[in-house]
């Protein structure tokens, strides 16, 4: 399959349309003809028991593949992931609960296999740290706002200013000069 698509990409961009059409037909035929053959061998063990398979996928989506660490055990194509999926399948068939299956893997590979780390003393900082930072930020913000509010208190008006303002507001046509400027 890979080789076919690669050779198609390698063709010059502009080819005579009739050639293009023939190629397209050929490619379609090749795809149609080849796909089932290419996948027949891989699909066989999966379909064995849909219930087991669904549970296996549900569990292993929450587990980390140790080889390609940013992939889940469900998605990884690493060989170890395949082995572990097989192991999970057989544990499910043995009637183990989801928690027991997870424990099986944690006891061998550690908490690192869990995408959701368990809440325990060593992970308290991980789980609650963000809330600590949030609380610290809120306390800091409140303290800052209080200090700011006290700095912005309006200055009290002097008696002369008040009189001048009142004179202006009352609509007195004769503007009175403030005393201190006279």
């Amino acid at each position: 399959m890979l080789r076919l698509s690669r050779s198609l990409h390698a063709l010059p961009a502009r080819v005579d349309t009739s050639v293009n059409k023939t190629l397209a037909t050929l490619a379609t035929a090749a795809l149609l003809g080849m796909t089932p053959v290419a996948h027949a061998g891989e699909a066989a063990p999966l379909a064995a028991d849909p219930v087991v398979e669904a549970r296996m996928i549900a569990i292993s989506e929450e587990l980390r593949c140790l080889v390609c660490q940013n992939e889940s055990l469900a998605a990884s194509h690493a060989e170890l992931a395949e082995d572990l999926r097989r192991e999970v399948r057989s544990l499910i068939r043995d009637g183990k609960s989801d928690a027991e299956v997870r424990d099986y893997l944690v006891s061998r590979y550690g908490d690192f296999v869990l995408y959701r780390p368990p809440v325990k003393p060593t992970t308290w900082l991980l789980w609650f740290g963000p809330f600590l930072i949030l609380a610290a930020a809120i306390i800091g913000l409140i303290a800052y706002l209080r200090r700011r509010a006290s700095l912005l208190k309006p200055a009290a008006l002097s008696a002369a200013d008040r009189a001048a303002a009142e004179a202006l507001l009352s609509g007195d046509s004769q503007p009175t000069q403030p005393k201190d400027q006279a």
């Binding site: 061998g41 140790l66 080889v67 082995d83 006891s107 061998r108 590979y109 550690g110």
Partner: protein, 196 residues
């Protein structure tokens, strides 16, 4: 001046965290098995097909369990060190030959008959040992990798230091380096040899 101290402090904390994070190898996952009894197994031996090996056979000795395979490139890197170490009579090393045929990434075991895989495993493992030297007291054949899973193997080579009571005391992930051997494995082995 004071107003710059807090951001500067936070920045330095961040730098320290990043420096620690960047200098750690995410592929070295600490094993939960350190401090726990080595999982039991019974596997046939490489050199003597009619004999089997189980970790209980090593009770009373401090020993190394080294996971290897002929297709493993890093094993080739650590192998001369193991051979030299074994020649000096350091510690008994037991090899766990891991998925010799299934792990090579080429052979489809489904197409092989049951005993064909065993034969092929023996041939390849023995050929590799005769080419690169054999530091092992014996090698056990973990053809389907199930024992590997019990030991939390996720890459080859890996090496376990096991004490007289059969408890795993140290796990080396990846090839043993001269540094790891001298600074970690040997001092710990010496200490463990003193324990009853």
């Amino acid at each position: 001046m004071k107003r710059f101290l807090i951001p500067l402090g936070l920045f330095l904390v961040l730098v320290v965290f990043l420096a620690i994070g960047l200098n750690r190898d995410p592929h070295e996952v600490p094993s939960p098995l350190v401090g726990k009894p080595a999982p039991d197994f019974k596997l046939q031996q490489l050199a003597e097909p009619d004999k089997s090996f189980s970790p209980a056979d090593m009770r009373g000795q401090v020993w190394l369990l080294n996971v290897w395979a002929s297709w493993c490139v890093s094993c080739r890197a650590e192998h001369p060190l193991l051979v030299a170490f074994a020649r000096q009579g350091g510690l008994p090393i037991v090899g766990l030959n891991y998925k010799e045929v299934r792990g090579d990434g080429e052979t489809d075991v489904k197409k092989l008959a049951a005993d064909e895989e065993t034969t092929l495993t023996r041939q390849r493992a023995a050929a590799w040992l005769s080419q690169h030297g054999n530091p092992y007291l014996l090698s056990a054949l973990d053809m389907d990798g199930r024992v590997g899973i019990d030991y939390g193997v996720y890459g080859v080579p890996e090496t376990y230091l096991i004490d007289k009571k059969g408890v795993i005391r140290y796990k080396q992930i990846g090839p043993i380096t001269p540094e790891a051997l001298e600074k970690k494995i040997l001092p710990l082995a010496k200490q463990l040899a003193g324990e009853s």
